[in-house]
């Protein structure tokens, strides 16, 4: 495969109105005003007095769902009313939340709108070719919804469950992650060799992208023009995949299972379509997939391990580590190093990006180039860094930003924990499970994935080429005047340290 450096795409900025259908909500009839949600919100989007119901400022909210994860105020089944009244109130709330009527779990004040009812309705529609993809972080968390220990790894059972739920093809966002590395790595090399704009930021996390659009619209051309792995795979499903299966793109119904509450927003963005078809039609969270499996009476833990479908479901270890903070960076270095130097990377496991701090920085010798990289987890840590970029004082080449505290394994749509003391434990277990999965795979670099090589040979041509540009790259939108709109300007904490 060759790397070419023509045709750099820059991201034009356009002003649009904000989204009108908020995803994150707080039920005023339940919220006690404890403001624990405000404590975890990275952008001060939660407004209200202590002891009074809170509201979410939808213009500022980046839809990361961390508030949904932390809220512990549940609806009591017997608070001052008869059991019948309580039951009908519960049904009303389930409807408000677009949740199926037969869910047994408690309902909390902070919640997100779901899509499961919409998806199950569509699944019964005849004449459709139903395709699903699953994010890297689902396979290390979904088993927790069935009472298994934190981080239990179940890619095979997940594929089996999705087949039993009626999907014709079970693909994998990890494949999309491998494609992302090919495109983003090439873009980085081009920006470094052709002069910017640098630093280049990753663009896989929709909460981070939305954050940049709201808080730092003047820096949008620093974001990689790559779509996220979910959107990339979505657009390949309705083009390359449609060709292979000989189906009409119009008849493809494409669903994505994501750890993230912001992915629905991303898939609804007007830019996210190719040739008039939505890249991804609907997004379900980890929790919603678990509702669906339970509702269908599937005995998840006793399912056999099944394979993902080929070719869009075959991934490398690099694709699978996208689910943790530092993963995109590590995957990009594995590929970027070898493409740039034509030498084997001496050590595959890049420990310097695997930490837990909000910001980690490192320098990597890649041939002649001393590549300066940074990894950010949690948007509250992004402010300081972006201020430095704005001031022209940041000489990094490549910066990965993930909105959630430990990357997608800690996303807003992941299993919600009842005890706060379990949170760190769960994140660590999910993370080591992802790294274990990577270590156990034969192919661990995106550019060595034979299905990726074939995709470029048969369909895309070359990274950043004409077809890629059309299907896999996007633009961003200015969504406000920028950071001065913030009510309270908390200084961002920087906790990282240089490795070299």
């Amino acid at each position: 495969m060759s790397i070419t450096t023509n045709n750099a795409s820059s991201a034009p900025c356009m002003e649009t109105t904000d989204y009108t259908n908020p995803i994150i909500h707080i039920d005023p009839s339940m919220c006690t005003g404890c403001r624990r949600c405000a404590g975890v919100c990275p952008v001060d989007a939660i407004e209200g007095q202590p002891g009074e119901p809170q509201t979410v400022n939808a213009d500022r909210c980046v839809i990361c769902g961390q508030c949904v994860q932390i809220c512990s105020v549940y609806a009591s089944d017997w608070a001052g009313s008869s059991p019948q009244e309580a039951a009908s109130r519960r049904q009303e709330r389930l409807r408000e939340r677009d949740m199926p009527a037969d869910i047994g779990e408690p309902l909390f004040a902070a919640y997100y709108s779901g899509s499961l009812n919409k998806v199950t309705d569509m699944m019964t529609k005849p004449g459709q070719f139903r395709i699903v993809q699953c994010a890297p972080a689902i396979r290390v968390s979904i088993a927790e919804e069935f009472g298994m220990p934190f981080g239990t790894l179940t890619p095979g059972k997940m594929a089996a469950a999705l087949r039993r739920l009626g999907f014709d093809r079970v693909y994998d966002t990890n494949f999309g992650a491998d494609v992302t590395i090919m495109e983003e790595g090439t873009e980085l090399i081009r920006r470094v060799t052709e002069g910017g704009p640098l630093p280049m930021f990753t663009s896989c996390c929709p909460a981070w992208v939305r954050f940049a659009e709201i808080e730092y619209p003047d820096l949008l051309d620093h974001l990689s023009s790559c779509k996220s792995p979910m959107q990339m795979l979505g657009s390949l499903v309705k083009t390359y995949g449609a060709q292979l299966d000989e189906v009409e793109p119009a008849n493809i119904y494409s669903v994505a299972i994501m750890p993230c509450t912001c992915k629905q927003f991303e898939c609804d963005r007007p830019e996210m379509e190719s040739d008039g078809y939505r890249d991804v039609d609907e997004v379900l969270t980890t929790r919603e997939l678990a509702y669906w499996i339970k509702k269908s009476g599937i005995d998840f833990m006793n399912l056999p391990d099944e394979e993902f479908d080929s070719p869009l479901g075959r991934y490398s270890g690099a694709g699978s580590i996208f689910g943790v903070t530092g993963g995109v960076m590590e995957a990009a270095i594995r590929t970027g190093y070898e493409l740039l130097t034509n030498e084997k990377l001496p050590k595959l496991q890049l420990d310097f990006v695997r930490g837990e701090e909000g910001i980690r920085v490192a320098e990597v010798q890649v041939g002649e180039l001393e590549l300066k990289v940074a990894v950010v987890a949690g948007l509250q840590h992004a402010y300081g860094l972006l201020d430095r970029v704005q001031a022209g004082e940041c000489d990094y080449h490549f910066i990965e930003v993930m909105g959630c505290p430990a990357g997608c394994i800690s996303g807003g749509g992941q299993p919600k924990l009842m005890l706060e003391k379990h949170r760190i434990e769960a994140y660590r277990a999910r993370k080591s499970s992802i790294y274990g999965h990577d270590a156990g795979l034969q192919v661990r670099k995106s550019h060595e994935n034979p299905h990726i090589i074939k995709l470029y040979d048969e369909f895309l041509g070359e990274p950043l080429g004409h077809v890629s540009h059309h299907l896999l790259h996007t633009t961003f939108q200015k969504r406000g005047p920028g950071k001065q709109s913030r009510s309270c300007d908390a200084p961002a904490k920087e906790t990282g340290s240089s490795i070299h």
Binding site: T32, C34, F108, E144, P415, L417, E420
Partner: protein
């Protein structure tokens, strides 16, 4: 210790924390009302550790039964306060119980769910409103009371029982779940033996009748 009023056959193994195995007059969870933010994390934690027979794991998704805790966050004006059993030395609830389902073991007042007949005498007797009578679930299913049938529907009615704070006697050591879970450090376990203050104040506030 003379608290055991009846010879129940259940073992004493329910006692958990080491500091509660020695005979103490009483221990209970106290709250710093002014600092409670009303988040109900204590209620959720209490429910989570007391529901393991219902297959409830760490994630909310594993919950299939109603959340019934043994501590309740109550709002009074602008103040929230968690309310739970005080493990009274001369427990009025135990006096009121006609079947001796309530007993005191090493200063912890316990209700034996198996013996409880749901007469609600204890609910009325408790000065703190710390007892709640609710449906009993096992393995995620409603337990039924075979003697009680809904004739029209031909089915047994649910079994109910009184429940209240047991200081997490089943958790085998450590702090009670609510104390651990509170993000504001509002709750703590007071052990009367090593906490002499209530002993003296008792003479002031509760003179012998």
């Amino acid at each position: 210790m003379s608290g055991t009023r009846n010879a129940l056959s259940r073992p004493m193994s329910r006692m958990g924390a080491a500091d509660r195995t020695s005979a103490v007059a009483s221990s209970f969870v106290v709250a710093d009302a002014g600092h409670c933010i009303g988040c109900k994390a204590c209620e959720l934690a209490c429910f989570a550790v007391h529901s393991q027979t219902n297959g409830i794991g760490a994630s909310v998704g594993t919950v299939s039964v109603p959340v019934v805790p043994k501590v309740y966050v109550v709002r009074a004006g602008d103040t929230y306060v968690p309310v739970q059993c005080r493990h009274c030395e001369n427990a009025p609830c135990a006096h009121a119980c006609p079947v001796q389902a309530i007993r005191q073991e090493n200063g912890v007042v316990m209700i034996d769910e198996e013996l409880c007949i749901s007469c609600t005498s204890c609910v009325l007797a408790c000065p703190f409103g710390a007892i709640e009578v609710s449906t009993v679930y096992r393995e995620g299913r409603v337990m039924t009371q075979p003697g009680l049938t809904d004739r029209a529907a031909h089915k047994a009615l649910p079994r109910t029982a009184a429940g209240k704070c047991d200081l997490c006697a089943d958790t085998n050591g450590g702090q009670p779940a609510c104390v651990e879970a509170c993000p504001n450090d509002v709750l703590r376990l007071a052990i009367v033996e090593s906490d002499p203050l209530p002993e003296r104040r008792r003479e002031v506030f509760f003179p012998r009748l």
